[in-house]
């Protein structure tokens, strides 16, 4: 068994444990903004809160799409069990991001972006497990860049911290997917 195969098996076990925990927000997610009630109280009427809501809603729309994309991958029949477990685990974390962003937008007085009725995925080009994983890796890489571009324009340090926490998670997804694909998982010292 290669190191990579062993790692995938361990990740799969973790994924199953994550699923057993249920669909509620993790303590870590709750804690991200739990200490910032003043942010919500003081910013609801703040003009910059409107921009923050737009930023978070754009991120939320992308997170909804990521959840749907992993669903397509999971239902494609192309993923072997270990890769499927990994995809389900990552999808579960995107769902947690959705929940955190949704509740935050609401607390800021906004209307959270919902999931679309349908998404346009290039399913006709997904023919192998590698195609699916490479597709997911591309989404994760883009997500890292999107959060990196959103953090500097968020109006509060608390929101930037929460966004950075999500960025870190999605960067890990990207790295793991690259590793499973046999690529250098961390090709650069900086992300862009």
């Amino acid at each position: 068994m290669t190191i990579r195969e062993k790692w995938i098996l361990e990740a799969g076990a973790l994924s199953r444990r994550t699923l057993l925990r249920g669909g509620t927000l993790s303590a870590a997610a709750i804690g991200l903004l739990a200490g910032a009630p003043a942010l919500f109280a003081s910013r609801r009427a703040d003009a910059s809160a409107e921009q923050d809501v737009r930023i978070l809603n754009t991120a939320l729309a992308a997170e909804h799409e990521a959840v749907a994309a992993y669903q397509v991958g999971a239902e494609s029949g192309l993923l072997k069990k270990d890769a499927l477990d990994l995809a389900v685990q990552f999808q579960g974390q995107h769902k947690e991001h959705v929940e955190l962003l949704t509740s935050t937008v609401r607390k800021l007085g906004g209307s959270p972006a919902g999931e679309k009725a349908s998404y346009q995925f290039p399913v006709e080009k997904l023919k192998t497990q590698e195609d699916v994983l490479r597709f997911a890796a591309g989404l994760e890489k883009g997500a890292v860049s999107a959060y990196l571009g959103a953090i500097p324009i968020l109006g509060s340090g608390d929101l930037a911290k929460a966004a950075a926490s999500i960025l870190g998670d999605e960067a890990m997804h990207w790295a793991v997917l690259r590793y499973v694909l046999g690529e250098n998982p961390v090709p650069h010292a900086f992300v862009s």
Binding site: Q51, R54, I55, N57, T58, A59, A61, A62, E65, A66, Y119, Q120, F121, P122, K125, D131, R134, F135, G138, L139, K141, G142, A143, S145, A146, G149, A150, I151, P152, I153, S192
Partner: protein, 141 residues
């Protein structure tokens, strides 16, 4: 167009921005190759041929901002009165929120002029090549 090598390269670039991006079959110019890599940053929200969180980029050049049929733009973008070309895209990519306040493209922008030039060099080719050709006819003004 910058030659058949660039087109071959683009034809091999796969699905979403940052999606299934394979090795190029041809040898694109250095700026187009760099631009393609920069375009992968857009992959959470955009693709060439599909509307996603952001609108598709096929047939981008010459298109009026906010005009892809069926895409839910911000009011700010719909009313921006911008036609996308090298100059308007360069300004928007440098500072999306400053250029179109209220846009849903809530991104700090690409500050490096060279990176923007590379990205635009890529987009200028990619948005009128495969996979855009089959979907561009009649789908956007």
């Amino acid at each position: 167009m910058r030659g058949s090598a660039a087109l071959l390269f683009l034809a091999s670039t796969g699905l979403f921005a940052g999606g299934l991006v394979g090795a190029g079959a041809g040898s694109p110019s250095p700026e187009i190759a760099a631009g393609r890599e920069i375009y992968e940053r857009c992959g959470a929200c955009h693709s060439l041929e599909r509307d996603r969180v952001g609108p598709r980029h096929c047939s981008l050049f010459g298109r009026r901002a906010g005009s892809v049929p069926g895409f839910a733009y911000s009011e700010a973008m719909r009313n921006s009165d911008i036609v996308w070309n090298r100059q308007t895209l360069d300004a928007f990519l440098a500072d999306p929120l400053g250029t179109v306040p209220g846009t849903f493209m809530t991104y700090a922008g690409i500050q490096d002029p060279k990176q923007r030039a590379d990205l635009l060099a890529f987009l200028e080719i990619a948005t009128r090549s495969e996979p855009c050709e089959p979907l561009s006819t009649g789908s956007a003004p």
